[in-house]
């Protein structure tokens, strides 16, 4: 990236940081810029210390950035806590009536202080204190060189439904902010972005995934609230009557997954979503759906564990929880989406794969992806999905669990005449009847059992043929191969650009399909690499272990972060330099 700008808002729960960040993102995107944003928050409802960082450019933006160009301090409490995070050359916007920066130790002469009496100014236009955020937007708009008309368009879109008067107040606040910055000779930021009026979306990963599910034919979603999956159910519920689908908050996660199985068995494409703790409770039914061969999509958005851990922090440490979900041997699909667009695609694909192969698909999101925001330009919302493997009519020879070459058996939905059958959680014969009771262990039964195990396993082999090769970017003969999974993809991509600038050639292997796993291809890439560094947001190197299991390739170098914060590109650059230097 040649030019990009990072703005960081720092406030407390209750400062309205979510809507502030969102609104600012909309202003940026209206200028046809690209943006990535992330809110770092705490598990408290009021008070505390939160950051909302947004980075934007007229080119592609990868990470939310490390150093901020502009830091907006929204109250004194957070101003005090934020000091160690302040970088050189930052412009600090704050309300001098409430915050005394010198007293707090903001004494470096490498920073630029931009006091603005936001609350005082806000009072001039409204009694609502949140209006101070618009004042700030005005001032920021001025130093960023944004287009006032475009900002006003956004304000109109956002507040129009509240009436003309409210919009006018916002306009006034905006003008006041611009005026203040101008008249106090606030210097413009040196970086110059090209902009024009644009029309792309800004969206969170969860919302993109939800849109994908809807596009993929979702008809039933059940869930029990759990950060960071909750916003999926919030989003879906919002449009319920217009969607004609069922969205159900249940008594617990066991009911959520149980209902999804029931709905899916009945023919409705169904999904459920949760985080690790809820997923743990769902695992018994993962195996049940698998042996019943009922399609099922489960979203597990990972957060920092173990157990309740740090509920609002990110981590990628549920890989083996997903891999080992439920007792016994059976195939499942595990996919980890990596950005908004990909989350959308996985939403579509997961429902389609589940139905096509009558399998359980686990979608492993992580908090950074679920809750982060970004601009996206192309989601194929008009994708036409179709039904797979459902028979409308059957004859007397119908066998629900017929042993087939592909492993997929014919399926009838309740309501279909003559299609009645028994679907159990015990091992079965082709008719569906249990072979765990009076047939168990009989010489004739043993081959049936084997055939059923093998039939189910064959489905995964079929899926393997259909999924794309792992994502591999860069030159084959690079100095180092970087490996990543999940939401860190763009952080690694940015690191590669920085490495390139330092003359280090790298390439990048990104794992999206965890199961089935593209063993051969991954092995080949790793074996051809000069050095391999794997980057993960966890302590024990779960993907590293997993790759070793799948390929017997033992990756030598790793960068792991597990304090709940995002890995940053400079960490990767540093680590790579260490490795390449030591060679």
């Amino acid at each position: 990236m040649n030019q990009d700008i990072t703005v960081r808002f720092v406030g407390s729960a209750g400062d309205g940081l979510v809507s502030l960040g969102w609104l600012f993102a909309k202003i940026i995107k209206k200028h046809n810029l690209n943006l990535v944003g992330f809110r770092s928050y705490q598990s408290v409802i009021r008070g505390g210390y939160n950051e909302y960082q947004l980075r934007f450019s007229d080119e592609k933006v990868y990470s939310v950035g490390e150093e901020a160009d502009i830091i907006v301090l929204l109250n004194k409490h957070v101003a005090a806590l934020h000091l160690p995070r302040v970088n050189d050359n930052a412009k600090i916007v704050y309300d001098q009536d409430y915050v005394d920066l010198d007293e707090l130790g903001y004494t470096s002469d490498k920073i630029e202080k931009l006091p603005i009496p936001m609350k005082e100014l806000a009072k001039q236009v409204s009694k609502l204190s949140v209006i101070k955020n618009i004042i700030v937007f005005g001032a920021l708009g001025h130093i960023l060189g944004l287009d006032t008309e475009l900002i006003k368009e956004v304000l109109e879109e956002q507040f129009g439904y509240k009436g003309k008067e409210v919009v006018e107040i916002n306009y006034k606040a905006l003008d006041l902010g611009i005026e203040f910055a101008k008249s106090n000779n606030w210097e413009k930021v040196s970086k110059k972005l090209k902009f024009e009026k644009g029309k792309q979306m800004v969206i969170t990963g969860n919302e993109a995934l939800a849109l994908g599910l809807l596009t993929g034919g979702l008809k039933y979603y059940s869930g029990y609230p759990m950060t960071p999956a909750t916003s999926i159910i919030h989003y879906l519920t919002r449009y319920l009557p217009k969607l004609g689908i069922i969205v159900k908050q249940t008594e617990d996660e066991i009911a959520a997954v149980g209902m999804a199985v029931g709905a899916s068995y009945c023919g409705a494409r169904a999904a459920t979503g949760t985080s690790g703790g809820g997923f743990a409770l769902m695992t018994e039914i993962v195996g049940m759906a698998a042996i019943q061969e009922v399609p099922l999509v489960i979203i597990n958005s990972m957060r920092a564990g173990p157990s309740t851990g740090m509920a609002t922090k990110t981590e990628q440490a549920d890989l083996f929880q997903a891999y080992g979900a439920s007792q016994g041997d059976f195939p499942k699909i595990i996919i980890a989406p990596y950005d908004m667009e990909d989350a959308f695609n996985v939403g579509v694909e997961s429902l389609e794969l589940a139905e096509k192969y009558q399998m359980v698909v686990i979608v492993l999101m992580d908090l950074y992806l679920s809750e982060g925001i970004a601009t996206v330009r192309k989601l194929n919302l008009k994708h036409k999905t179709k039904r797979y493997g459902i028979l409308d009519k059957v004859d007397d020879n119908y066998l629900r669990y017929k042993i087939t070459e592909s492993g997929v058996s014919p399926r009838t939905l309740p309501g279909t005449p003559k299609g009645m059958h028994f679907t159990g959680s015990s091992e079965r014969n082709e008719k569906g009847f249990s072979i765990a009771s009076t047939l168990a262990g009989l010489p004739d039964t043993l081959p049936i059992r084997n055939a059923m195990v093998e039939k189910r396993a064959r489905k995964l082999e079929q899926v393997a043929k259909e999924i794309p090769e792992p994502i591999f970017e860069g030159d084959k003969d690079a100095d180092i191969t970087l490996v990543s999974w999940g939401s860190t993809i763009n952080i690694v991509r940015e690191a590669r650009i920085l490495l390139e600038e330092e003359g280090i050639k790298s390439n990048h292997l990104h794992i999206k399909y965890i199961l089935p796993f593209q063993k051969e291809k991954v092995k080949e890439i790793l074996e051809n690499a000069k050095e391999v560094l794997i980057i993960e947001q966890n302590f024990s190197g779960q993907m590293q272990q997993y790759i070793c299991m799948q390929t017997a390739f033992d990756i030598k170098h790793h960068l792991r972060r597990y304090d709940g914060e995002l890995i940053v590109p400079s960490q990767i650059v540093e680590k790579v330099k260490e490795i390449v230097k030591n060679e």
Partner: protein, 295 residues
């Protein structure tokens, strides 16, 4: 009487029941099939979900859409089935361990949720399939493999509980009276909203206390009394009488018809949507509505 469309045997699968000869579950098997035939419900429009236990083997033996889940989870699965396609007749069948033990939470919430499914519990006061441990309905002092000196927990009273939790149809049957059972099942199926039937169903192998004889000596029919089944307080009182005198009412304790069902309140179902069969994907209009907030 005109010819029936279906015979009870039309609901029978080719898999012979594996229950011990004489088990109380047989009577329920027969009564359920007879009730379905009487109501002329096509077998393909019946879904029966069960959990795990002797009783939960039931769907193996029926020629309907049968789904056996894991222990205690028949209710959520059935709820999903019904909401996905409210044209179906959806039943849950399970044991006292299955539905009052491990499945207790789903039972509780199903009672208040009032989805139009029928939950039948084969209550044998014991864990049958696992060869005889105490169940949530085992009276204090019961000798079982986990209580060789007598159970020390107070049993649950499922009927009283269901009424308190908001169920709109609450009944009790007895496997020693299949005709009466058929009548209850029929009423339960016809009921609009969540219907719950607890069935005294002797386990002849592991339970020496709650036997056919035990119940025969004690049951009496609610229909033969002047009980008002629409009276909440009377129903609760009746449900708790067994602590007072050694008589066990069977029949319908409680039934109200004036509560809307979940389906009637649901924003998709009350518009006539059928999630199991509706067209997939988004219309242009829907796309516009649901993506507006991102622009």
């Amino acid at each position: 009487m005109s010819e029936r469309k279906y015979k009870a045997d039309d609901y029978k699968s080719n898999f012979r029941p594996t229950w011990c000869p004489g088990c109380g579950n047989f009577a329920q098997w027969r009564a359920l099939r007879a009730a379905l035939a009487e109501l002329e419900i096509p077998p393909e429009e019946v879904v029966l979900a069960s959990g795990i236990g002797c009783s939960s083997h039931m769907p193996n033996f029926l020629n309907v859409y049968g789904i056996q889940t894991v222990h205690g989870r028949g209710i959520p699965v059935a709820t999903g089935v019904r909401l996905a396609n409210p044209k179906l007749t959806v039943l849950v069948y399970g044991g006292d361990g299955d539905i009052y033990g491990i499945g207790g939470n789903h039972f509780l919430h199903a009672c208040r949720r009032n989805v139009d499914i029928i939950t039948i519990v084969s209550n044998n006061f014991i864990y049958g399939l696992t060869t005889g441990q105490a169940s949530p309905t085992s009276p204090v002092g019961t000798l079982t493999k986990t209580t060789p000196r007598g159970s020390i927990e107070n049993p649950l009273n499922p009927v009283s509980l269901a009424i308190s939790a908001g169920a709109t149809f609450v009944a009790r049957g007895f496997s020693g009276d299949a005709k009466h059972l058929q009548y209850i099942f029929k009423e339960a199926i016809e009921h609009r909203g969540f219907a719950f039937v607890d069935v005294f169903s002797p386990c002849i192998t592991f339970n020496r206390n709650q036997t056919f004889d035990f119940f025969r000596a004690r049951v009496y029919k609610i229909e033969e009394t002047d009980h008002d089944k629409e009276d909440f307080h009377a129903a609760i009182d009746l449900a708790n009488q067994r602590f007072v005198r050694d008589q066990l009412p069977i029949g319908i304790f409680y039934q109200i018809e004036n509560k809307t069902t979940y389906e009637e309140r649901d924003f998709a179902l009350n518009q006539g949507y059928i999630p199991a069969h509706d067209k997939l994907g988004l219309s242009d209009e829907q796309i516009e509505i649901i993506t507006k907030e991102f622009y």
